[in-house]
Amino acid sequence: MSPKTEITILILAAIAAGIILKFGFGGERDFENAALGTLTVQYQAAGPEGVKVHTIKQPESEIASMLSHAQGSDALVLVLGNSQTHSINQKEKGHVVYPELLQNRLPDRIFLTNSLPNANLQEFYTILNWWNDQLDFKTVLIPVFMDDLREDGLRKDFLKGLVRDEHTIEPELDELDTEWNQILASFQNTQEEGTVSSEGIETPQERSEKYITSWLSDRSEMWRNRPNARGDLFMKLYQWRNQLFGINASTKRKIIPARYDKNLTALSKILNFCQERGINCVVYIPPIRTDVEVPYDLNEYALFKEEVQQITEMTQTSQFHDLDGIIPGKYWGLKASTNTDAEPELDFMHFQFRGHEILADSLEQILRRQ
């Protein structure tokens, strides 16, 4: 092939790539919330007169509002959770999530909620550690999802408050504390788009790259849309993978032993942390759809519940509750397909508003008994 032909093909390919980028990547789907699908809506609990009392990514404005709202209260409850806490399946007007219902039913207490998709217990531990520096909590609600014990590490995107405050776990009691502190420290140095690592000093390369990328972002929508295009591409890969291996929401998830053990160690650390500070801990197995076969190995699931109970009962300030079957099948729903099929799938994690009411009933009773 002649050089002229090859260069012509290259130029045409660049034009074609531009057209595909312009029209083929909307970037409308958030990869972190892929599991929600389109039938489930994200909703953050609000306090009296709409005050912000629920955070997901800990932006400064939400945290400031929560701290101001909680000031002076001696009956603070910290609600930790995952996407179940901030999602409503088939939401209609007026539907809210269980932390808001709890706040309405128990007005003598102040409920602050911090939930993050696929939250693992290591993240709960670091978040609790940070919240404890801000406020004195009387009670903490900790759902332990078997699904999330497959996750590992900390995610910068959901720990913005900790990053802002350069928070560290102190004292470092063991290797895990050291590991998490190293991760938190690494967030301080994590490079943003347009930068390269260079021992903390901004090099001419970094300065020029920042300038050029910001110049491009200001002038080119296509350039600005690149992170969304990356999200779209990963989403497609995720769907193709699911299609290829026949994975859907009902597929059984096996535990990953190392991660499982690490997360349960994190649970122990949470409970010890609370005991040392006189914080009541409500540990519960969260609701899951039980009218169909659960997406876990049944033996592993039974063992998991047993282990969580045993760990919880080792400290005196914590109590264990198994709430997994409290929400009937009719109050759950479907989610959009997680593979390339258009068929909706069963949603095992996110229930309808009625489910939030039932969960709030159970938690209310538990909290009233304290």
Binding site: E6, A13, D152, R241
Partner: protein, 489 residues
């Protein structure tokens, strides 16, 4: 400056346009000055280290040129100046901390209160590469393979030529200086071939290497005692692909950028994971380094006279003399320990080097047997075996410590800990996908591409589709978030 950045793409475009617009004479200056700018975009103050190494060898080589060959001791003394300066720079910037840490550890274990001070030293980018180039230049003049270059600008450009300055390929003066002197006139073929290679390189780096990095980092962050043998093997494969895509990407971009300017740089990789022996692997992996090590370390250690200087071929050149088995084996293990240490100032790298030495040694022992094996064994037995050995070799290269390495090796060797899956499922999938992709690409370029080249009616649309996907993905993923791994060496 790093290749996977918009800054570099703009810089390179400007340099290329100016280069071909200028008359031939000032092109030297343009390339030399732009190479200094390229380096200064990282840290301008470290240009002094680069220039110190270059200037020293320029004058040493000039001196050697003027001393008659009979004055051996005088010539050796001059050569020693070059080696002292270059290896001294390497020692100070790269190995001082290692020796300080180890000596302090030794003092502590002996119960003495003596402690050496720790100095805060930044490793200059590319020091391992350009010092090897300046050493090879002086050695070649010393051996009489080349004449010392009179013009500093030509010689300086050989050392600082920006496409290969930071991470190679490690080039020989004889291969580059002549091209710089001849300065070819513009050909469209330079641009088409060069851009193709640059696109391949950017694609491998930003689409594959950078995206595999997350899985590798996550896997190696796990306490090794929590891993099973299968996890360790998977991580070895994944890191093996990451470092290959990363380094081959750098080499593609280096070769491509030089080609656009009409200059040829020798190939550094040739599908290394297709190798059917470890010796074969080192003829395909980082070829310029293994050739350098062969000519300036291994052959001299065996007492063999080096007759030509070339950055091609890799290890495995036939010996012109017959050293004793003992001497050959000593040379083998010493060379590989140094080769490992060149990669990084940590015991893990020495262990990595010795691991390779052991397998090459075993291959030597088995060579007489291998010639009697049936032909098919090469493809169906030797390839997977070599692939496994090569991939597992990356464990010490990437592990945090020698202790972690042994724990991880132990997991593979102990049948009770061999099976188990403690990584995210996607980690295994990505490793498997990369293996299929790598072998598929090799098969495509070996069997299908020549056919497509002969049938342009089919070949052109396929090339168009290939370029479209590559340009699109490079545009979407281009972010200088990860440096090339070999920058740290």
């Amino acid at each position: 400056m790093i290749f996977n950045s918009v800054t570099f793409l703009l810089f390179f475009t400007a340099v290329t346009l100016l280069y071909w617009a200028l008359p031939t004479k000032p092109r030297y200056w343009l390339l030399f000055l732009s190479s200094l700018v390229f380096y200064a975009f990282w840290r301008w103050e470290y240009l002094s280290v680069l220039l110190l190494s270059a200037v020293t060898d320029y004058f040493v080589a000039r001196g050697l040129q003027h001393i008659p060959i009979e004055h051996k001791s005088k010539r050796k003394r001059l050569l020693a100046v070059s080696l002292t300066v270059n290896l001294g720079l390497l020692f100070y910037f790269k190995y001082l901390l290692f020796f300080t840490t180890n000596l302090n550890g030794l003092f502590e274990s002996l119960g003495t209160v003596t402690r050496l001070p720790y100095w805060d030293i930044i490793l200059p980018f590319g020091i391992s590469f350009y010092t090897f180039e300046t050493i090879s230049y002086t050695m070649d003049v010393y051996r009489g393979h080349i004449k010392a270059e009179k013009k500093f600008i030509t010689y300086g450009l050989f050392v600082a030529f920006f496409p290969k300055l930071v991470a190679g390929p490690i080039q020989r003066a004889a291969e580059l200086v002549e091209q710089l002197k001849n300065r070819p006139s513009f050909q469209l073929g330079f641009v088409s071939e060069g851009l193709r290679r640059m696109l391949y390189g950017l694609f491998l780096k930003v689409v594959f290497a950078d995206n595999i990095a997350g899985f590798v980092d996550e896997g190696f962050a796990i306490n090794p005692s929590e891993l099973a043998g299968l996890d360790v093997i998977t991580l070895g494969f994944l890191f093996g692909f990451q470092i290959y895509f990363d380094f081959a990407a750098y080499s593609h971009i280096a070769l491509g950028a030089a080609k656009v300017l009409g200059i040829n740089i020798p190939e550094n990789f040739n599908f290394p994971y297709i190798a059917t022996s470890m010796k074969d692997f080192w003829k395909r992996w980082h070829i310029s380094l293994s050739s350098w090590i062969r000519d300036y370390l291994y052959l001299p250690l065996t007492g063999t006279k080096v007759l030509v200087s070339t950055g091609t071929g890799g290890i495995g050149q036939s010996l012109t003399n017959q050293p004793t088995a003992k001497r050959k084996n000593f040379a083998l293990f010493a060379t590989w320990a140094i080769m490992g240490f060149w990669h990084g100032s940590n015991w893990t790298f020495i262990l990595w080097g010795l691991y390779h030495a052991v397998f090459i040694y075993v291959e030597r022992l088995l060579t007489p047997l291998r010639s009697r094996w049936p032909v098919f064994s090469s493809a169906w037995i030797c390839w997977p075996l070599t692939l496994g050995i090569a991939m597992v070799s990356w464990i010490p290269f990437r592990a945090q410590s020698v202790g972690d390495t042994f724990i991880m090796f132990g997991k593979i060797l102990n049948p009770q800990t061999l099976l188990g899956m403690n990584l995210r499922e996607n980690t295994y999938l990505v490793a498997a996908f990369m293996l299929v992709l790598f072998t598929g690409t090799w098969a495509f370029s070996t069997y299908l591409k020549p056919w497509l080249d002969r049938n342009p009616a089919i070949g052109k649309p396929i090339l168009f589709a290939q370029y479209t996907v590559m340009v699109l993905l490079v545009f979407v993923f281009l972010r200088p978030i990860n440096q090339f791994i070999y920058f740290q060496f």
